[in-house]
Subunit: 456 residues, 2 copies
């Protein structure tokens, strides 16, 4: 977090806004890279962001829209939401259809529908088509402008075709299709340069190529691109016809978003919250999670209530009892995190799930024994009551066994029900360890007292 | 987690190993993509993995080593560790120097040193040089084989040079250097094709290019590649001489590793643990975190002990008291997660940290009021004691204020001390909310009793 280049820009922008030097402000903004502009916009207050965006749009519409697109679909849509549908439809023409589609999808209704209607009236509209695919699928994030060569061409003809095409931005793989646009091969630009111009593409193309279908989940797309080290992946329809391409920069966004989603869900935060989500929205988004937590806390409290006579008969019990659910919660969080990340990275599968469960149970019991001994001895020494130490030891072993089991089975169960396993989150898992922890510790204490044991 | 293509392969591999059909096994392995082979190796048991790797190495050394490299540096090093230094040094020649360097770095000593010594004796060694850069910097992960064109060339000469070069794998940006190898520009392969062969490179190259230095942190490299949508980024030394290139596939690995590291650290798991880390190692790695937790749990217990007379005078207190630290811990985890992720994504900076702190405090107080009302009313209704409800409400507001403050300031403080903010982790944050929660609730209860209030 050293002084960044853009901090300097940001300071100047703030100063120019303050003194009202709009001409200088536009000149400064105009010189920035879209990604830097997006960062500047993100860090300005809402009013300043909107004002400087409007200024820039008059000077350089394309740059302004590129920066807006870099803000992500939510941020981008928010910056457009106070404009007319006609205006938005016009501005979105500056963006690739996949980015435009994502932004339309995040506009408030009925604005979103009006913009879409306007865009669909245009000849050759692609945005409307993209929005027909399910969210978070390859079809939704692909770029339908994909450069394809006919399999009957020679290398020389392919180069000429390429030289004549203007719209194509990042060409590194050239996909080859047959007369009916079925994807049949791929050839790299470099390979085209290396062979004689008269060589037929059929002879130099690779036919063993990796593609995804329009309905492939975006997480799966990201996994393929990452594991095969691709720069782009072609998207085909159910008849294997080439309909689009997803480039690695979009895949990076998917990987980052999916990681953020997992981190957030594990902690009980909505996946679309960010540091500078407005206060009211953050409050509203976090409250339901805390309320669920509160419910589970009352369940645990109910367990303690069942043992209220035991608790009031032995004052050492309430003093140390919260150690057991606490440690169980921590151990369960460790297990849950390893399992959820293992599922996300594709390392954990149905094939090896039993092996993982066995391991997590053994880790739970093992660490239950180890930390149980430490906790038991410490409680014995501090409170001078060996019975408290022994109860603590036994309850910790039981609860860390529960932690390992629940921490593995709950996310796997959610996955089996096709629910995101990260939603298991610490919140739900700790309900188990809270209940089991209090029940084990106080239950054993009650048995001890009933068996004639004496409170210290 | 549908049946994957590689599950079929994996089943066959297991069957062929079981019946000892080594010739068929090698044939099957030989036909796989390195990334798929890596997945197969990862899911086999240690003995089978080692055996099938050894078989494949005799048939196709390059493929075997590429698959090994896809296992990551730890996994790759483990698979080589039982071979002689000479053998390893020979095998590593099949890999790009950055991958070889990473693997050597993860070999056990003294094997690692012996291998390095052997490799450094070779003429034109690059691996040894890479290992001289700090871990997790651009220098360590770059590929020193970078294709560069001289600024005095024409487009036609550039294409001829490119056609004559064999080693260059992924060329999409062609970097241009001056006579002393200072990086002066970049030109895309496509642009080369579009201009007249006689055009000087100087006329068509972009001079405003983004590069990183050998000592740039890999996380910063990833951020630049991601935010500027690059396919590769050139690496220069302190004199701006071109020394290497980092491609987007390496950046994806960095992004995934850094996300895993953050997720793990927040949950108190070592960043190098995976689902199938051996049992003993997982036990050893998680134990210290649990022990730290146990220490903090005893600190919280100490607070309850201070109020032991209050607790034993009013039986409703021990029944509900764990709700307060529990809710504080959850709220703190939410804040911590948003802050840590904001820092990782570069959205939170020193510039706007105060704004974030203010917001998190307000969210804490706001949700403290909201959940406090619910909890207070519920406790009143369930226990029939209005005083318990009121105490719970007040303690929750105080503790969620502490949660918002500690959840923001602790990771920011760590960042200021140049420590990974994710290390703040739930473990440390919840110490604050546990202590504050018990102290607020029991402290207020003690005051209430001392002021003449009656336990229900």
């Amino acid at each position: 977090m050293a002084q960044r280049k853009i901090d300097v820009v940001l300071d100047s922008v703030r100063r120019l806004i303050r003194i009202g030097a709009t001409a200088n402000l536009v000149n400064l903004l105009h010189k920035q890279h879209p990604a830097d502009l997006a960062q500047v916009f993100a860090e300005l207050g809402e009013k300043d962001r909107s004002a400087s965006f409007s200024l820039l749009i008059e000077r350089n519409t394309k740059l302004a829209m590129e920066a807006l697109s870099e803000l992500g679909p939510e941020g981008g849509a928010a910056l457009l939401a106070n404009r007319s549908a006609e205006d938005i439809a016009r501005l979105l023409q500056e963006l690739p259809s996949d980015d435009a589609a994502a932004i339309i999808d995040h506009l408030p209704e009925p604005l979103s529908a009006s913009v879409l209607e306007l865009i669909e009236k245009r000849p050759g509209d692609e945005v409307g088509e993209l929005l027909e695919y399910e969210e978070q699928t390859a079809g939704r994030i692909m770029n339908p402008k994909v450069f394809a060569l006919s399999e009957d061409m020679t290398a020389g003809e392919a180069i000429t075709t390429l030289q004549g095409s203007r719209d194509v931005e990042m060409v590194f793989y050239l996909y080859v299709v047959d007369a009916r646009r079925h994807l049949v091969g791929v050839v790299s630009l470099r390979r085209l340069l290396l062979v004689q111009p008269s060589t037929p593409l059929k002879r130099i193309m690779t036919t063993d190529l990796i593609s995804v279908r329009t309905d492939t989940d975006q997480e799966e797309v990201a996994r393929q691109v990452a594991s095969y080290n691709l720069l782009a992946i072609p998207v085909v329809d159910e008849e294997n016809k080439l309909v689009g391409v997803i480039t690695v920069d979009d895949v990076i966004d998917v990987i980052k978003d999916e990681a953020t989603e997992d981190i957030y869900r594990l902690a009980g935060v909505s996946s679309d919250e960010r540091v500078f989500t407005p206060l009211g929205e953050s409050l509203r988004k976090r409250f339901p999670w805390l309320l669920v937590n509160l419910g589970t806390a009352f369940i645990a409290t109910g367990v303690v209530w069942l043992f209220r006579h035991t608790v009031s008969a032995w004052v050492a019990l309430p003093i140390v009892m919260s150690i057991v659910p606490g440690m169980g919660g921590n151990a369960a969080t460790q297990t849950l995190t390893v399992i959820v990340r293992g599922l996300a990275l594709g390392e954990l599968t149905w094939n090896n799930a039993r092996q993982a469960l066995f391991k997590e149970i053994m880790v739970g019991v093992g660490n239950g024994l180890a930390t149980g001994v430490v906790a038991g001895l410490a409680a014995w020494l501090l409170m001078g009551q060996p019975a408290i130490g022994l109860l603590l030891f036994a309850a910790m072993v039981i609860n860390l066994f529960v932690a390992g089991t629940a921490g593995t089975l709950i996310p796997l169960g959610l996955k089996a029900m096709k629910v995101d396993p990260a939603l298991a989150s610490t919140v739900f898992i700790t309900t188990f360890t809270d209940v089991a922890g209090f029940a084990a510790f106080l239950g054993l204490a009650a048995l001890y007292l009933r068996g004639g044991g004496h409170p210290g």
